[in-house]
């Protein structure tokens, strides 16, 4: 069966605390941190962007897969902060990991869900026999306008998955997507920061689409929420995914292992993929994982995943995501502004 044969994540080492950002804007940082359930967020270093983070994650995934890199027949890189508006970032990653030149590459964008869209494309290509292995990456160095609500959560990180059908460590049993034209969050060509429709990003956007995709998946697979051992939702903040879980009667302890947002913020295209990486770091053979991404504009991809017995041996080659989470260095808002190139005149 088609499934994941390698996985890896990457999170930059720098962190800024919610209270540090709030203090700059004369806001109550404690209240904001409690409201969002985000105490700090990751910040890319001055020489990091979505592509460099994708390369790190891709290398880690290849190490787990333990396959020759030239067997990778496709690289799909999903992000909303691609390094170039025109020029393939996926090609840079493919070159960096040694998968070029006979490799299909494309940069994907669907707000925060382009990474899981890449997983679906790879599933199809592997299933059809067009490729032996495909790599799907979700990574972002998210943009948040200074003093916008997004500034508290817009973080950086990414994850990569190698999809194949031999020696899988987690089988992809099925996937469903729920898409509508819903303008909740967007960034036009040439604009530096995304804009959003405030509270409209909640019920009619995040909750409607994640719920729709999950219900479609349950119907397609003949499953119920309680059939799953882990739930990996898209996590723009800590509050939304926990409410979503509650709506489906999924207990918090099935969500918390994937809920990295509280410690690293919202990594956008990397968010649910990093959540899955975190679960694969600890899951055991037979565990069933329910995953749902969300991308503004809007759509959600839901996945039904079963961990196989190969997980134990493969995991020995993995770099645990916890290592990146715990290896951190706090920065001030001033340094953050420098790293994110928010200081005018540089």
């Amino acid at each position: 069966m088609v499934g994941i044969v390698g996985y890896g994540g990457y999170i930059p080492r720098y962190r800024i605390k919610t209270e540090e950002i709030a203090a700059v804007w004369n806001e109550d940082g404690k209240r904001i941190a409690e409201g969002l359930l985000v105490k700090e967020k990751s910040v890319p270093g001055i020489d990091e962007d979505s592509t460099t983070m994708a390369v790190e994650a891709a290398k880690n995934a290849l190490q787990v897969a333990d396959i020759p890199s030239n067997k990778i027949g496709a690289v799909y890189f999903g992000s909303e902060s691609h390094s170039y508006a025109v020029k393939s970032s996926a090609a840079i990653v493919a070159e960096a990991v040694g998968a070029t030149p006979n490799v299909m590459c494309a940069d994907l964008e669907f707000a925060c869900k382009a990474g899981t869209a890449g997983m679906q494309i790879c599933m199809g290509l592997v299933k059809s026999g067009m490729i032996e292995y495909g790599m799907a990456i979700g990574a972002d160095a998210a943009q948040g306008r200074p003093n916008d609500a997004l500034e508290y959560t817009a973080a950086a990180g990414g994850a990569a998955f190698i999809i194949g059908n031999k020696d899988t460590i987690a089988d992809l049993n099925g996937t469903c997507t729920f898409t509508t034209d819903t303008p909740d969050f967007w960034r036009r060509e040439g604009e530096e920061f995304p804009r959003h429709a405030g509270r409209f990003t909640g019920e009619p956007a995040y909750f409607k689409h994640t719920t729709g995709a999950l219900n479609s998946l349950f119907e397609k697979m003949g499953t119920k929420p309680e059939d799953y051992d882990y739930f990996v939702p898209h996590q723009p903040n800590g509050k939304f995914p926990l409410k979503l879980a509650k709506d489906f009667g999924i207990p918090a302890e099935k969500v918390l292992p994937s809920l990295l947002v509280t410690e690293i913020g919202n990594t956008y295209s990397g968010a649910s993929p990093l959540g899955l990486v975190s679960v694969l770091d600890k899951a055991k053979a037979g565990d069933r994982i329910l995953m749902v991404s969300y991308g503004s504009g809007s759509g959600s991809d839901a996945f039904d995943i079963t961990v196989t017995k190969n997980i134990e041996s493969a995991r020995k080659r993995a770099v645990p995501i916890r290592k990146y989470i715990d290896k951190k260095e706090y920065i001030t808002y001033g340094v953050y502004a420098k790293f994110k190139r928010k200081i005018k005149g540089i």
Partner: protein
């Protein structure tokens, strides 16, 4: 001279109605009111629609004709009425006047506002248009800021406390928790209000009414025709309106709304009633301090006593006078153009005995009080069974 009665009422659920547009809301409320009244479309002579700012909030102007169009009421006359947050109350009054003038027999008066299509800062700016442009809004004074000035002065002159203002919000949420049409159908505690983040001190988040989508409508008929359609007509005993300066600084007092006082005086005179005769009232609590001003200016309590009266529970459903049983603007929500009509709908339900769990037992006389801006327009309607 014959009077005017409300023979049918209807409203949408108030709240963030993401899936409903301006026209969906107005049609839903209008159709509900028509069904409730028993009139047929061709019986209706005219439409009066209150809406403050559909042009800026949704891009749609020409609201009067739109209502007639979308409701299938063409070719009867349709008029858009605007008086900021009192647009609904004024639409009701225009409907009443049109019948009293002898021009019409049966009219529909409605109000609508679709506010969630733009972000909150645009809503704040748009609502700021109800203040005086040159000396208030263009210099950055928002409505929370203007009402905060009023609150500060009220605290200074009468010793009103933040806890007393918070008690307004707690009471209105208690009422809203029993109203299936309310935006916030849950109770809150005094501590929650006191601990909510500051908006414009001393006003905190829970002192302020929310951004709301919604619509409401009533069918008005000449008294002698009302009996043909319903045996539960609500008579409008008085409809009055007064004006004041747009800017706060031009007023003699910051702690009273003279437009409310004048409108109330005229209404009580016309109805031959006194404040003590009112059993149930919907008053304009865009901010908690506004309810305190209202219950004083309407004469329910002495000036300066509104906060204490609220704290003592005198404005609860079983109090001296039941204030804002719908939840008020605070908990039922405040789709600005719809609010004045919603108040009349709530009073009609109360007087008919159809207010469900929030019913005030045995109420016979009700009052609706709608304010535009920081008090430049005051509208009062008194109604009875």
């Amino acid at each position: 001279m014959t009077g005017v009665s409300i023979i049918g009422v209807g409203m949408t659920e108030f709240g963030e109605r993401w899936d409903k547009g301006l026209r969906d809301l107005m049609v839903e409320a209008g159709v509900k009111a028509i069904i409730d009244s028993g009139v047929d479309g061709p019986d209706i002579d005219a439409v009066y629609g209150g809406c403050m700012s559909a042009g800026r909030l949704t891009g749609q102007e020409h609201i009067g004709a739109l209502i007639a169009d979308q409701s299938g009421l063409n070719p009867i006359p349709a008029t858009h009425v605007e008086a900021a947050c009192a647009s609904g109350g004024l639409a009701l009054r225009q409907g009443v006047l049109s019948i009293l003038s002898g021009e019409h027999d049966i009219v529909i008066a409605g109000g609508v506002e679709k506010m969630s299509d733009v972000d909150v800062s645009q809503v704040t700016t748009t609502l700021g248009g109800a203040a005086e442009l040159e000396w208030e809004s263009s210099l950055g004074a928002t409505f929370p800021a203007l009402y905060a000035l009023i609150a500060r002065r009220h605290m200074h002159e009468y010793g009103t406390t933040e806890e007393q203002m918070a008690a307004v919000a707690v009471k209105n949420h208690d009422n809203g928790s029993l109203n299936p049409y309310a935006q916030y159908q849950y109770k809150i505690t005094l501590e929650q209000v006191m601990n909510s983040p500051p908006i414009a001190e001393p006003l905190k988040l829970y002192d302020c009414s929310p951004v709301t989508d919604g619509a409401a409508a009533v069918i008005l008929a000449r008294d002698d025709l009302a009996k043909r359609y319903t045996d539960k007509a609500i008579r409008i005993l008085a409809s009055s309106q007064a004006s004041d300066t747009l800017s706060l600084h031009d007023r003699a007092s910051l702690t009273e709304l003279n437009a409310t006082k004048v409108a109330a005086k005229h209404a009580f005179e016309r109805a031959k009633l006194q404040p003590k005769d009112i059993d149930v009232a919907e008053v304009h609590d865009c901010f908690t301090i506004a309810e305190i001003l209202a219950i004083e200016d309407l004469g329910f309590f002495k000036k300066g006593e509104g906060g204490k009266a609220t704290e003592k529970g005198l404005t609860k459903r079983d109090g001296q006078v039941a204030i804002n049983t719908s939840g008020g603007l605070k908990a039922c929500g405040h789709p600005v153009g719809a609010t004045g009509i919603k108040q009349a709908v709530e009073i009609a339900w109360q007087l008919r005995g159809e207010a469900g769990k929030r019913q005030v037992k045995g109420c016979k006389i009700g009052l609706a009080h709608n304010v535009g801006g920081s008090g430049a327009t005051g509208i009062v309607h008194i109604m009875s069974r």
